[in-house]
């Protein structure tokens, strides 16, 4: 019996996935459980497993192509089984895809771009003038997704004002990507195109620069004023999640300065002990350990906004923001308040390493109750973090800086570190956050407190 291969939800927040690589080709035989493709989710690159057996008869999503969760991306069936209907329905084409000119280009162009990473540029540009109805419909569907209006004669969607403005300014709407619902061209798109029209290269060819690495300030071609970098799944999720946070969450910020003299000294002693095992801990490990300890004492700061309740957590799961190539990910140290300094240190190193390789499993980056972000290694004095809902707080940690301070009437130099706590006021009030920070400061200024 034929099996449809769907784009599966491979992370809890995944809405669409990008096909990185097919590990099986059309014609290969497939056993139930075989890994058949690699999919980039919003968080990581995951393996897609076959849920049926037979021959991989038809691939419907090309490498580099994107499909929403639930969409059919391939068909597994017996060697002689009739699959025209399945394939046709999946491709939303009136004719079975096998009979349309699209299939002549090979599986990659049946859906998704022929050039990985440049979905915008390739599809309309390669649209042959003799497109069949079936193909035109497909190209239309795809370009709508990519934000470009269709060039194959299908209806072009633009707001009345956008149409008028385009006409007045001589902007060809067919070259303007629409940012409104369903790819509707709205006035801001025409205005952007007006600016872009100053460049010698039309927007469609600017799209070809997308696949190239980002070298700030160095245009890939002379005369190009800007380039649109395609959104990775991770960038889309970051954008969505952070807008969801900052608009509805009433943030406020608490800042405290910590004298790190004793933590620095303690780290030195701890590392001397660990040296024999070839291990060592960082200042950030001390921060994480102390945050976990302070949260254990202040569960009111280890809380979440649930809409109709405030959830107070008694287990401390620390999310630690880790920069990765094209974004960030927050692996979670579970029950961090129950773990020793060296264990926290090893765990976060291991998780961060796999995070950078996009190898984390969903359960390794979800379920945190409190997050910590440290930009001290970049020399950032102090900053504020954006809360990752439904968490109610994030702690932003700055660099340790030698700072002159007045002490008993004398100016002395102390290594000071500023930490800033972003709080969701629905959950945490000023005094609640302040008490937590006070405990954190005490623990970092007297690391022996970790032992208590």
């Amino acid at each position: 019996m034929a099996t449809k291969v769907h784009m599966e939800a491979l992370s809890p927040t995944m809405e669409e996935g990008q096909l990185v690589r097919w590990l099986k080709a059309e014609g290969d035989s497939i056993a139930n459980g075989d890994i058949i493709a690699e999919i980039e989710t919003d968080k990581a690159t995951m393996e897609l497993v076959a849920r049926g057996e037979g021959i991989l008869r038809k691939v419907l999503l090309g490498e580099g192509g994107t499909a929403p969760v639930g969409e059919v991306i391939a068909v597994i069936a017996g060697a002689d089984e009739e699959i025209g209907e399945l394939v046709g329905a999946a491709g939303d084409s009136p004719e079975p895809v096998a009979d349309s000119p699209v299939s002549a280009d090979g599986p990659k162009s049946a859906r998704g771009p022929t050039t990985p990473g440049s979905p915008v540029a390739s599809a309309p540009a390669e649209d042959p003038p003799t497109a069949t109805v079936g193909e035109a419909a497909q190209v239309g569907a795809e370009s709508e997704e990519a934000g470009l209006p269709d060039q194959g004669g299908e209806r072009l969607k633009a707001s009345p004002l956008a149409r008028r403005l385009a006409e007045e300014n001589g902007v060809d709407l067919r070259t303007v990507p629409g940012s409104g619902p369903g790819g509707r061209i709205v006035v801001r798109d025409v205005e952007a195109a007006k600016v872009g029209a100053g460049a010698a290269v039309p927007p469609a060819t600017v799209g070809t620069t997308e696949a190239q690495p980002w070298h700030p300030g160095v245009p890939s071609e002379p005369g190009v004023d800007f380039e649109d970098l395609p959104l990775s799944q991770m960038r889309k999720t970051i954008a969505k999640r952070l807008v969801e946070s900052l608009s509805p969450v009433p943030h406020f910020f608490l800042r405290i300065t910590v004298d790190m003299t004793r933590t620095l000294a303690a780290r030195k002693r701890v590392n001397a002990l660990l040296e024999a095992q070839g291990d060592k801990v960082s200042i950030n490990d001390f921060v994480l350990k102390s945050v976990a300890g302070a949260l254990g004492r202040h569960p009111e700061a280890n809380a979440q906004w649930m809409g109709d309740a405030v959830r107070r957590h008694y287990r401390v799961h620390l999310g630690v923001a880790v920069a990765v190539e094209d974004g960030l990910i927050t692996p979670v140290i579970r029950d961090a308040n129950q773990k020793g300094l060296a264990q926290i240190s090893r765990e976060i190193r291991e998780l961060a390493g796999r995070g950078r390789e996009k190898k984390l499993q969903p359960e390794e980056y979800t379920g945190s109750t409190f997050s910590v972000s440290n930009l001290g290694m970049f020399g950032i004095h102090e900053f504020t973090g954006v809360i990752n809902p439904p968490e109610a707080s994030i702690l932003a940690v700055g660099a340790i800086e030698e700072t002159p301070v007045a002490e008993d009437g004398q100016v002395v130099v102390r290594p000071l570190m500023k930490v800033t706590m972003s709080c969701d006021h629905r959950v945490i009030d000023g005094a609640t956050g302040a008490r937590f920070l006070q405990t954190l400061k005490e623990m970092l200024e007297e690391p022996a407190a970790i032992l208590v």
């Binding site: 009345p160 004002l161 149409r163 940012s179 619902p181 709205v186 801001r188």
Partner: protein, 326 residues
Amino acid sequence: MPELTYREALNEALLEEMERDDCVFLMGEEVAEYDGAYKVSKGLLDRFGDLRVVDTPISELGFAGLSVGAAMVGLRPVVEFMTFNFSVLALDQVLHSAAKMLYMSGGQFNIPMVFRGPTGAALQLAAQHSQALESWYAHAPGIKVVAPGTPADAKGLLKSAIRDDDPVVVMEGELLYNIRGEVPEGEHLVPLGLADLKREGDDVSIITHGKMVHLALQAAGRLQREGVEAEVLDLRSLRPLDVEAVLASVRKTNRAIYLEEGWPYAGIGAQLVATIQEEAFDHLDAPVLRVTQADVPMPYAKNLEQLAKPNVERVVDACRRVLYRD
């Protein structure tokens, strides 16, 4: 400028107009001895006597018809409906007599009268007593309809309505009677058919009337924190409609929402959407959206009533959507 409640402003308008013209009289249930169900006619019986401030039986059709007759022979009746929910009992006289008389008498009889009272929901009065029926009256040619949202507009519109030579329906709000605002003393007339810009902004037009003006202003305040400047246009007059003010606002912001307390189906907002798309199509960057009461009889349960009524979040959300910011 003195600060009055909406209730006091209406009372002042009635008092001033009854002093100015002794053809003006007030009629309705409990308007005299009891000073009005909502105390709008407080003190008028003592001042003008029971020939000009007349208590009626519970008989909306009867006293509305009697008033139309009085108007035909030159008096200027002001009919109070305890609420507009009860006005439907008198609809035959309003729709068939008051609204048609000038036309069907070949111009012999004009009907200089006012039907007034509260419209819209208050709190937990259930389905029959929580209706906003503005569109029912605005639907028919031959009647003018106004819905003041502030004390100053309440006074100015009621005075103009009483002086107008055609039937005017003045739709107030139970939850508006206690709000306070500056009200010009003496001769303060707000012309019928003139909208008022309650807040200027360049980004989106929130067009509304009556009690919803206050919700619109709250939403505009919220949007300002997101960097969006919303314009709040209070129609004040639902018929005749200040089309020019609506179009000017839409031409400026290129996007609009209509906020009203009534139901969406064939509501005032539906009329506005039609007008805007006919007259300002090329100025629109987004469809015109409406925020209204849910299309259901008003639930009695408090939580469901809250869900059925328009609220700030829904207004803000609609504005974000026409701004493509969602």
